[in-house]
């Protein structure tokens, strides 16, 4: 297990190093000049001003020099300063990470707590009304685009019932309850979409596992159908579900753009979007890198959970 963890950590570090490189070069390939954007039309007319600012921002150095500076900065936790605000990128990114992460974690928790039992019901009673109803809810959940789900939630909870704010962000420290109220709908939007995925995956995987001999063997040992599912079929069925969830949750980091802008939630995705519009290179790099690191972390966690369930994963077989 320790060996497995070590190998897995090394792989993550390697992946992040490659990601840092790709991030740097792809950002610099973006069309558009940050200096011109920063100065606006009038300032950009003066060539001398442009050159001065370029030197000040270290954008006149050769690309390889900038790359080395960026890598060097990484090791000391320095991601540069925002071209827009002049504030350290690392600080801004670190402030945003927990905001995005809490939406994803809350959404995942909701999806798992509801999706797995729903998947079990759907697998056990495939042809019965209960199973069909569950499957219908699941399909609706994951096939509705997130902005539709989000808008529907706003209509119900903010416009009709008036119990939740339609958008905005409240710091936890300032008003814990207000923070939770503001975060509930964006988290739920993610959760409903995920719940559909979890339900469908659990249903498909469990249906397949229920046909296997060891479930029948467990029944032959005197276990009830329910106990055979709980002790044998479900753990086996969840291995692929966790794998898919890890990938999907990782993808969400960059994919919450719609949700974060719909609910005006200042997370990583919205930071990335605004930085792109401003050609704020250091900020784009910082946000992208943070997304990569979190992605690596989430897939590490998913792998660990999988190998915890399935001993065959640990030996790499």
């Amino acid at each position: 297990m320790v060996k497995f963890l070590g190998r897995r950590l090394a792989a993550s570090a390697f992946m992040i190093a490659i990601a840092a490189t790709i991030v740097f070069f792809s950002v610099h390939l973006l069309p558009g000049d940050p200096v011109l954007i920063l100065l606006g039309e009038q300032g950009a007319a003066d060539a001398e001003v442009v050159a001065r600012l370029r030197a000040q921002l270290n954008l006149d150095a050769p690309l390889y020099q900038q790359y080395l500076d960026w890598l060097g900065g990484l090791f000391s936790g320095d991601l540069g300063k925002s071209l827009q605000t002049g504030l350290p990128v690392a600080e801004e990114v670190l402030r945003r990470i927990p905001r995005s992460l809490e939406l994803i974690v809350a959404g995942l928790a909701f999806a798992i707590l509801l999706g797995i039992p729903m998947g079990v019901v759907a697998a056990r009673r495939r042809a019965a009304p209960a199973g069909l109803a569950v499957s219908a809810v699941a399909v609706a959940g994951f096939s509705a685009p997130v902005f539709v789900t989000g808008i529907l939630l706003v209509i119900v909870f903010s416009l009709w019932l008036g119990i939740l704010p339609s958008s905005g962000y409240v710091a936890f420290g300032a008003d814990p309850l207000g923070h939770l109220a503001a975060g509930l709908m964006p988290a739920l939007t993610i959760g409903i979409n995920f719940m559909g995925v979890v339900t469908r995956m659990t249903r498909a995987s469990l249906t397949e596992v229920l046909r296997r001999d060891f479930v029948r063997a467990a029944r032959a040992r005197g276990l009830s159908h329910r106990a055979a599912i709980r002790r044998h079929a479900l753990p086996n069925a969840l291995v692929p579900v966790v794998a898919i969830l890890g990938v999907r949750a990782g993808n969400l980091l960059g994919g919450t753009v719609i949700i974060e802008s719909l609910f005006d939630w200042p997370g990583l995705s919205s930071l990335l979007v605004s930085a792109c519009f401003a050609r704020d290179y250091p900020m784009i790099q910082g946000a992208l890198l943070a997304i990569f690191v979190l992605f690596a972390f989430i897939s590490l966690v998913a792998d660990l959970i999988q190998s915890f369930i399935d001993p065959r994963m640990r030996t790499g077989r």
Binding site: A218, R221, L223
Partner: protein, 325 residues
């Protein structure tokens, strides 16, 4: 041999209600297993032998259903028990060993815990005590270093060891009857003999009855006391093992015995391997009368009538018109 009957199956029928029609997989079979005796249920694949064994434990899955018959065991008709009562029989009074020890063991659970599971369910043992018993059972079935192996996962063991694990799990609650469904088919020949003699020893020690499901007459000759031959969902011949091998009365049984290659003598040049012509008829399209008549070398006019099981000698009977003169 006037022993106490442990299991008496009468007229058991299990049909599958599929979209294409009704499959009469098991079509009215009688079986009797006595205490301390091994009954071999012999048949080709598709003959209904595995469905029959699952029917005894009422583990047939949809679209299969037991439609008729009685399974008398320890004074009860198992077919009339509630599901809850049936769960108390499975694993405790009747245990089952499956064909494929790889797929019949849960890949993500330690083998010791799987062996202990029956004890926890039926005898309410705590985890610790059940694990200790699992280690004892593993030692009893000849698994070396059982303390360490109890913590292994199925994929870390060889096929023979996995089958020993299955046997240990089956023995855990001291069952009166063990159903072994092709227990050696998936194993290497050398390991087969070990597993068979292990099963035989354990049967002798415990006095349990064994219902051995197999297609392998070599296995039958080695361990069975009595034999029931199943074809097309019906018993076509049954009797003591010596009788069946010395004087098989049904052409199907004769064919099966002729098919066993003779290893003792080098095969004479030019003598081909024997086989039975044709294959098991599709259960949707069985011939009327005798179900074997399309493949039977001795078929005659009367075979279009449905034959009945007629006694030939003491304890030996066959379902064939050739024996009715």
């Amino acid at each position: 041999m006037t022993q106490e009957a442990l299991l008496e199956v009468r007229g058991l029928a299990t049909h599958f209600f599929t979209g294409q029609g009704i499959v009469r997989a098991v079509d009215g079979i009688d079986l009797t297993v006595c205490r301390g005796e091994t009954l071999a249920l012999v048949g080709e694949s598709g003959s209904g032998k595995s469905v029959a064994s699952l029917s005894l434990l009422r583990l047939v899955e949809e679209p299969g259903r037991i439609v008729a018959g009685a399974v008398r065991f320890a004074g009860d008709d198992l077919l009339r028990l509630s599901e809850r009562e049936m769960e108390a029989v499975r694993g405790a009074k009747i245990a089952m060993i499956f064909q494929e020890p790889m797929t019949a063991l849960d890949p993500v659970q330690r083998v010791g815990d799987q062996i202990a599971e029956g004890l926890r369910v039926h005898e309410g043992l705590a985890r610790r005590a059940a694990r200790a018993r699992a280690v004892e059972l593993m030692a009893r079935v000849g698994i070396p270093d059982p303390v360490r192996r109890a913590r292994a996962y199925p994929h870390e063991m060889s096929g023979g060891m996995r089958q020993r694990v299955m046997i240990a799990a089956a023995l855990s609650c001291d069952p009166d009857l063990i159903i072994a469904d092709e227990p050696t088919t998936a194993l290497d020949v050398t390991v087969q003999a070990q597993i068979l003699s292990l099963l035989d020893d354990l049967k002798r020690e415990s006095g349990a009855g064994v219902l051995l499901i197999t297609h392998d007459l070599g296995v039958v000759a080695e361990v069975a006391d009595r034999v029931s031959v199943i074809y097309g969902g019906q018993i076509v011949e049954d009797g003591p093992v010596e009788q069946i091998f010395r004087r098989p009365a049904h052409p199907y049984t004769q064919g099966l015995i002729a098919c066993v290659p003779d290893v003792e003598l080098p095969r004479q040049r030019g003598r081909a391997l024997q086989s039975i012509a044709g294959s098991v008829p599709s259960p949707f399209d069985r011939p009327d009368g005798c179900r074997f008549r399309d493949r039977c070398p001795s078929a005659f006019a009367r075979c279009t009538e449905e034959p009945v099981l007629v006694p030939i000698a003491n304890g030996h009977s066959a379902r064939c018109w050739l024996n009715v003169r």
